[in-house]
Amino acid sequence: MARIGVKKTYKLFINGEFPRTESGRSYPVVGKGGVLLANACRGSRKDLRNAVQAARKAVAAWSGKTAYNRGQILYRIAEVCESRAGELAEELRRQGSSAADARKEIERVIDRWLYYAGWSDKYPQVFGSVNPVAGPYYNFTVPEPTGVAGIIAPEEPALLGLVSRIAPAIVGGNTVVAVTSESRPLAAITLGEVFETSDVPAGVVNLISGLKSELVPWLAAHMDVNAIDATGVTPDKLADVQKAAAENVKRYVHFDGDEIGWTDDRLSQSPYAIFEFQEMKTVWHPMGM
């Protein structure tokens, strides 16, 4: 008798767990030729709220880890992505990428984790400074994480785009609530399983799938979110996001992947992507103490 395979239920990733959306809704994810691939969770604003709560709780412990330790964890993510490369590539392929493109995207994903892992204990030297002042003080400036970052992933590349925005945020000690690609969420959701097995503490990364039109306004207006990365927001909606973000003076971040490209490492990865999620703190320390 033929065996019936066990199909994966694509769920959300909140606080280190894989819950279904509290709304109970789903939406169809289709592949080439309109084939139904899966019913993904159609996340609600309450899922976002839960995710932000989890992310807020995780900030202190994550930002309090040593830079070296955060780097180790990002490196571990790269390792696990490598060992699950086949599965992730297969999901990209089912969503419409050619086998070669899928393989290439996964390679870039792995290398991107590695790249930002390396920066973990280096960006503070690059962006920090010792400032000359006219008084008996040591005056220095250090970058500090801004807190909870909301990230809206681009539609494409669904996985590389998401990773390229999450990695610089978390390596700098921020925690993340990310809205995945609406049309191609499968590999992005599987990425949650990678985090779950890579010593990433619960709540540091949270992934919500669903309709961007239902999620983005709530994330942008959430008073407990400190930065919003609008990379995956369509140009006509950017002004709305900026306006909502202004209410609590969120950091506004936007990477123009369509213009710059996602695959050229020299252009699409940079310590300045880490810098965008940092606040600069200046300290006056009296000399002789």
Partner: protein, 322 residues
Amino acid sequence: MPPMTETVLAPAGRSLTPVSFRRSLNDALEMAHGVDAVAAEERASSLAKRSLKKDSKVWGLKLAVSMIDLTTLEGKDTRGKVWALCRKAVRPDPADPEVPHVAAVCIYPSMVAFVKEALGDSGVHVAAVATGFPSGQTFTEIKVEETRRTVAAGADEIDMVIDRGAFLSGDYQKVFDEIAEVKEACGPAHLKVILETGELANFDQVRKASLIAMYAGADFIKTSTGKVAVNATLPVTLVMLEAIRDFYHATGKKIGMKPAGGISNAKLALSYLVLLYETLGAEWMNPDMFRIGASTLLNDILMQLRKEKTGAYQSGDYFTID
């Protein structure tokens, strides 16, 4: 202590015959039948699933604010901290005058005179814990004297603890007498009796302690001190509300209820209100008959209210830390 008779008016429109009841331990023990624990837990959890939205949610949250006994009971309490708490009690959200003041500020006896002055004529009551709070392990004379002095200092309400050691070893007479004596010492002040349900082991004992407290003269019965591992829970509150209902049917006297400890978010507070409404009805849905002992709950409710007003989820960064 000789049994005393307390006279109360029969509620209007009710055909309850008894208009007076004896302060009698025997009557209390007679009513103290066993409680079906599975059913109590099931009923509490099914009522807690009810969802309130929009206008009714805002109404419920504002009602909950008006029922809060805003509490600080720490060894490190200072006048500065208590003063700030009093300001918050009077005007919980400085940005929104529609949010009502809380019911009372609950503090240790040494702060009573100071709080009385800080609250002035705002309408917020002064509640103080007394009788060797939180353990109650001191001499009866000291408990009575502490109560007397706390009321003299200006407390409108006294939150006393029962002697759980005596209760658990079966010395109900001692528990009963102590409550009755403290009630006398309260004079005009309202008496809330804390059962410390987290130490009473099961629902049968909770019901028994509730009835003993009510028959001994309590104006309110209260779940917990907030100082032990298990504080207020929905099922325990249900058991106590049912004891209040049975006492009311037997005597015609309305006793208030105060769950305290562990009620830290708005959703949970609304669940308590649902439980209250479904058990005792609309006559208990006011700060004279129901209180919530809490400290962090208020901020969560304020955040919910502002979210309903502005449409954006809120952050603790924009509300005062108590």
